[in-house]
């Protein structure tokens, strides 16, 4: 068995199993938690509009802070959209998902993928640089932040290297690419990347709570 066979075979199988286990464990564990009883008189009878409002309002810079936060948020948008284009728009990736789920959708031309890949790569590097330079962000950051950055960066970097045949033979680069994806899958449920699954749940609950209390959102 060569490295590529190992990556495509046992490495992916184990990574997918750990990912599935971790995701369902954490989601079930969180969603089945008991809510704290709220004995106060609700200001509004229905709270879900608040959930929606907060999900949207928190996705946009606050006018008061726009000068401070716009750059960081713009960066965030750039690399998230870039990642989505690369992960869900590239034909080999779609075939991978089709193999797992049976779902299929149209792919984008490679030029667009490579361009978004390059932009994503750049944005991710700037994001890391900002975290290292910004005194407050730096103070707030722990291993989880850096490692989550790394496991996100690695597949993009290795994917671009594989396509460019840079640094090693293609099959080796591809194997490293797949192994980096395996690492991402394994870390995903247990670190801050889990925000991808929980971000709207937490914003929604906060929004619903605010609505009930009649706070401005």
């Amino acid at each position: 068995m060569d490295l590529l066979q190992f990556a495509r075979g046992p490495a992916l199988t184990w990574a997918l199993a750990i990912f599935a286990f971790g995701m369902t464990w954490r989601l079930a564990g969180i969603l089945l938690l008991k809510r704290r009883p709220d004995y106060s008189e609700p200001r509004n009878a229905t709270s879900w509009p608040g959930a929606l409002k907060l999900i949207i309002s928190r996705s946009w810079p606050r006018r008061e802070f726009i000068q401070r936060t716009a750059f960081g948020q713009a960066l965030g948008y750039i690399f998230h959209i870039g990642l989505a284009i690369v992960v869900f728009g590239f034909a080999p990736h779609i075939l991978f998902f089709r193999g797992l789920t049976g779902l299929d959708w149209p792919n984008l031309p490679n030029a667009i993928i490579y361009l978004s890949g390059a932009i994503t790569l750049g944005a991710l590097i700037v994001v890391l640089g900002r975290r290292l330079i910004h005194p407050v962000l730096r103070l707030l950051s722990n291993f989880d932040d850096y490692f989550s950055w790394f496991v996100t960066f690695a597949p993009v970097a290795t994917g671009m290297l594989a396509v460019a045949h840079l640094g090693a033979r293609y099959e080796t680069l591809l194997a490293i690419h797949i192994l980096s994806v395996a690492l991402l899958l394994v870390w995903f449920p247990f670190g801050k990347l889990m925000h991808a699954a929980l971000v709207f749940v937490s914003r929604g609950s906060t929004g619903a709570l605010f609505e009930r209390k009649g706070a401005s959102i």
Partner: protein, 352 residues
């Protein structure tokens, strides 16, 4: 005394014109990306060279590699190969059989000890003392070890002798291995392919006779001149891959338009071979040009890398059962954790 077996003389004897010989040398030199002057140097060297003594051993094989060589599209190519070499032992092609054949082999091995080229096709069974393939009562393993001793170099022709090939495929009932799994102390060149392209075999033979050594080899001991690029790197359908245009079935609009065969399981991106440039049948076409994806036949374990029709990125194993089991396990553990924490929450609020 016999006149020495010089290639030039034998060419004259068999009526091969200087012109077609030069044409052959030019073609070989250009195939191997040698400078134009090398064609003349090669012609000169080849003409004066002694015909290279070759011992060809066939082990667990289907004779496809020999077929590929001897039925090469271009009869001059085939004829020239056999002019370049003095094929002293080849079970399929020689007239002699039985004891006479074996003693011819031993004689040739003795006469050109240290100088002959050993060509091997087929893999070597190692299980149960190698009983699964024997010649004249001698196991392939023992025959290979004996013949390798006096060889100047070994050329493994075909994927079976290069990497184990089809006999090596799971579950490998005979314990088949490649030549380089057994012989460690000789220069070995692998010319894989199922079968290899005839001009590739001819090219490396011409190179060995001209320069007296093997050409530069890659990490899997394949001649770099022919195995430097993947099929995908040189594929004429590559622009369609880059535009994201794929045939979805073998007879849809995309297939008729000649779009990329990636989704139909083409293994071109991870296969190193010269099919896309040298092509087959004298340069007529190659499998992808005929509408079928590459099988990856020149790569190790090509038979065990999933279906030929499964796209490359589809994971090799069927992961559904294990993912389902893992997800169910996760739900169970998550639910248990939630139940415990609910109990904990209740007991805290009761304490208050």
């Amino acid at each position: 005394m016999n006149e020495p077996d010089i290639l030039g003389a034998s060419l004259a004897r068999s009526g091969i014109s200087r012109r077609s010989f030069l044409k052959f040398c030019t073609a070989m030199a250009s195939l191997m990306a040698l400078p134009p002057s090398a064609a003349y140097a090669m012609a000169d060297a080849l003409k004066r060279a002694q015909r290279q003594s070759v011992i060809w051993l066939s082990f667990q094989e289907c004779t496809g590699c020999v077929e590929s060589l001897t039925r090469s599209f271009d009869p001059t190519l085939e004829q020239l190969i056999f002019e370049m070499i003095s094929l002293d032992y080849q079970e399929t092609l020689q007239a002699a059989s039985g004891e006479a054949a074996e003693s011819a082999r031993k004689q040739a091995m003795k006469a050109s000890y240290g100088k002959y080229l050993l060509i091997v096709d087929g893999s070597i069974p190692t299980k149960d003392g190698g009983v699964y393939s024997t010649v004249a009562g001698v196991s392939n393993h023992d025959l290979l070890v004996e013949a390798a001793k006096g060889a100047a170099a070994i050329v493994a022709v075909g994927t079976c002798s290069s990497f184990g090939g089809i006999p090596h495929a799971n579950p490998n009932p005979t314990g088949a291995v490649s030549v380089s799994d057994i012989i460690k102390d000789k220069p070995i060149m692998n010319v894989p392919g199922c079968p290899p392209i005839p001009s590739v075999i001819a090219g490396v033979l011409a190179y060995f006779i001209t320069y007296g050594k093997l050409p530069e080899l890659d990490n899997l001991n394949r001649p770099k001149v022919f195995f430097a690029d993947t099929i995908h790197d040189r594929c004429y359908r590559r622009p369609f891959y880059d535009q994201g245009k794929f045939a979805k079935t073998f007879d849809d609009e995309g297939a008729r338009n000649g779009w990329c065969l990636y989704e139909l399981g083409c293994k071109g991106p991870t296969t190193y071979n010269a099919c896309a440039t040298i092509k087959w049948n004298g340069g007529v076409s190659f499998p992808i040009e005929s509408g079928h994806g590459c099988l990856g036949c020149s790569e190790p374990n090509f038979w065990d890398k999933g279906s030929f029709y499964k796209p490359l990125p589809v994971p090799l194993a069927d992961n559904t059962p294990i993912i389902t089991a893992a997800a169910l396990g996760g739900i169970a553990v998550g639910t248990a954790a939630a139940v415990i924490s609910r109990k904990h929450q209740t007991s805290i609020s009761e304490e208050k």
